[in-house]
Subunit: 184 residues, 2 copies
């Protein structure tokens, strides 16, 4: 837990508004899914520790006939810790691709198998692009006054560019594999 970025993702969210562990997870899924993820198994224990360390405070919200919520807010110490992290040079992006691994070793079985995988990847990328469009539309509707929206847009733009680049690569590589096949 020493170097966990989960802590800072939580502080980032709480710097906007107080919320529960459940909210944290749902918001991360809905907004950051393509470049970040968190699980309950991380969130809840870390939230407890953060409270103990004075980074956040918690109030219990008991409404009748509903499961009690624990609403967390960021403290001044938490804000300081967040700012310190923001200033640090970000770690390298993590990228790991089984598709490229399979492509690299495709000599062992010929181009047909990997062609199918790349075709499917192209379809997946197109589906993702449609998702981004929906996300953008949904967010733009009720948030164009929020300064956070601008930052969010730039992040999503990265995802869109990546998928566009991925689709181009798929087409190009499918062509390469085609002509490669004839040569053999």
């Amino acid at each position: 837990m020493r170097n966990s970025r989960t802590k800072y993702a939580i502080l980032g969210w709480l710097s906007r508004e107080p919320m529960t562990g459940y909210d944290l997870k749902k918001k991360t899924e809905a907004n950051l899914a393509f470049f970040w993820s968190e699980s309950y198994g991380q969130i809840y224990p870390i939230l407890h520790k953060m409270e103990k360390d004075g980074l956040v405070t918690m109030v219990e919200d008991r409404e009748e006939g509903r499961p009690p919520k624990k609403i967390y807010s960021i403290t001044d110490i938490g804000k300081e810790s967040l700012l310190l992290w923001m200033k640090k040079k970000p770690d390298k992006d993590v990228f790991r691709s089984e598709l490229l691994l399979k492509l690299f070793f495709s000599q062992c079985c010929g181009p047909e198998i990997i062609k199918k995988h790349i075709q499917e990847r192209m379809d997946d990328s197109r589906a993702k692009l449609r998702e981004y469009d929906e996300m953008m539309a949904r967010m733009a509707l009720n948030r164009n006054d929020d300064p956070a929206f601008s930052y969010w847009t730039m992040a999503v733009e990265f995802g869109i560019n990546s998928e566009l680049a991925s689709i181009d690569w798929c087409k190009q590589t499918l062509n390469n594999l085609e002509s490669f096949e004839k040569k053999e």
Copy 2:
């Protein structure tokens, strides 16, 4: 270890030529670094297990005055296992970006800090592009007859496209942040 892809990365390499655990690590670093990595702490134990499972065989190579090598070769069972894996739909690419996480939460500290990070990222991407060029040149020299080279080129092409897209995004985002600043 049940579903470890390390196993298949090893089988992939050994399907080309027999080699040692040390070679496996070095070759992965030199050729797959931008989309795959392995550590000795994974390679050696898994290699032992693979031998026990009959996926590979090992011969010891003792030359005088040198540390003894263990040279691994793929078996027919190993080849079968590799082929089965090749045919399976590849897992989703893993992507995780602290840079985008920081961008997303930049509301908490304003655009200056993230601008610096993005500027640095652009420099890093350019450096990576130069590395790819070197890799391509180095490989093209002595390998243009090897059919594996074509597959390798296509994989590297993905990396090049990604970095190109990343650089574009950096420029564009830097511009956005500039005008965003003036509005505030």
